[in-house]
Symmetry: C2
Subunit: 262 residues, 2 copies
Amino acid sequence: MPKAYEEIADDLRRSIRTGGLPPGARLPAETELARRFGKSVPTIRNALRMLSAEGLIDKRHGSGTFVRRPRTRTLRDNTRLQWDKDRARMPEATRAATGATEHETGLVLDDLVFFARYRELGAPGDLAEAFGVPPGTVLLERTYRTRCSAEPAPFSLVSSYLVRDLIAANPALLDETREPWPGGTQHQLRTVGIEVARVEERVTARPPTPEEARELDLPAGTSVIVLRKTSYDIHGRVVDVSVVTLPGDRTELLFTTHLERW
Amino acid sequence: MPKAYEEIADDLRRSIRTGGLPPGARLPAETELARRFGKSVPTIRNALRMLSAEGLIDKRHGSGTFVRRPRTRTLRDNTRLQWDKDRARMPEATRAATGATEHETGLVLDDLVFFARYRELGAPGDLAEAFGVPPGTVLLERTYRTRCSAEPAPFSLVSSYLVRDLIAANPALLDETREPWPGGTQHQLRTVGIEVARVEERVTARPPTPEEARELDLPAGTSVIVLRKTSYDIHGRVVDVSVVTLPGDRTELLFTTHLERW
DNA sequence: GAGTGGTCTAGACCACACG
DNA sequence: GTGTGGTCTAGACCACTCC
């Protein structure tokens, strides 16, 4: 027996894919759809919930159900890592003038609103393993939120971890009021003699937690991209671990790999 | 006024996060939960649907609701691109002996089940633009499904596109029965004198379409990672565009970036 | 067969958007 | 104010799983 709500969802999905219902279009009211399909309102709602979970529609309380428009994506490019490294050797004036790049995204801090918070904690198991230190070693946790001044929601949630003893030689690095630091993390590390030689970025995706959905202003039917970044210095030692949570509907990651010539 | 189903969802979510309900544990029946929380069954179902969408629980018709266990992730490493390139110059015996790497994933074709289908089509707008050719130019579309012999579902959906005239010099490249090709795409391109110098991989994430959920056997509350791979030859010409769809609950992408020394 | 979640109905009342 | 979707109830019947 065909399930009514799936048939209805299929029907509407087809209309959306073929363009019969273009992006931004308003769907008929649920009561109207119930009448047309000859089913009850809860059944219609069931069908619409499927489409909502797939990210095809947005339901707006009080005004209707609309076909979702694709979001414009911000690009996050791994060549920014080299660019950051080059910049870390520039004089402060230059570093400040180029505009501090937004941490972890590669955007420029011009019309960006920036927020940072520092906290010390004992390394939990997974971070201790990542750094190769005993569990409980004191880490500095730095939490960042950055957003365009135009948009209300941040475009990334960043937690960066450093081993405190590795950077304590420069007390300024422990002071959150010095953020945003001109030149970024690579310059901060340079002030204590650390040079980053290699960065590993691990990418996964999953649905957002309610907290992430709230902070990133994510509608139903979207995913987050979770990027776990590990920075190694020239001796192969782990010097920074960052966890970056990005909105899947607004973010594109670009990784360029150069191959050796034959 | 607090919403009942959110309160219930929060309560259960807390139990799951703190470990009060460990992975694999069965939740009480919906009727039982309704009794405990003093709400109707549909309200309980509403709360459970939230947790399901977040990927915290699995509902199994007939047997109950369970806390989801994290899946083990397969790693997809961008250093495989160089490895593939090196292998493309090996003699056929070596290429076959190393086991043809699974296209786009870096796994070895030992206990892998492999399926390929070829088709020609006129380039639609986005692909024509990516290749820098006029729309309608004939492309070869190659569709791959690969899975572990143990698992029923494939671990990636791959569509690879080549400009037919660029590879037609070797008719074997147009023959799907030659798959799996020992040495992979980079060796295939080598047979017509093409050397890949650079690969760009663009990563996004979103909820699966119903078709993807079916093919990849994705439960509710998971995402897909979409990887759009563009290969450039030594003259900067685009020679391959691939779209790879990966299950977000079973996949981790690893990108390593080496930085120049100071 | 007993128990589970899945589908569907019918309707009441509330919260929100917009004119 | 009017119409929209959001929440919640109460219950019937079906389909699946497992003993």
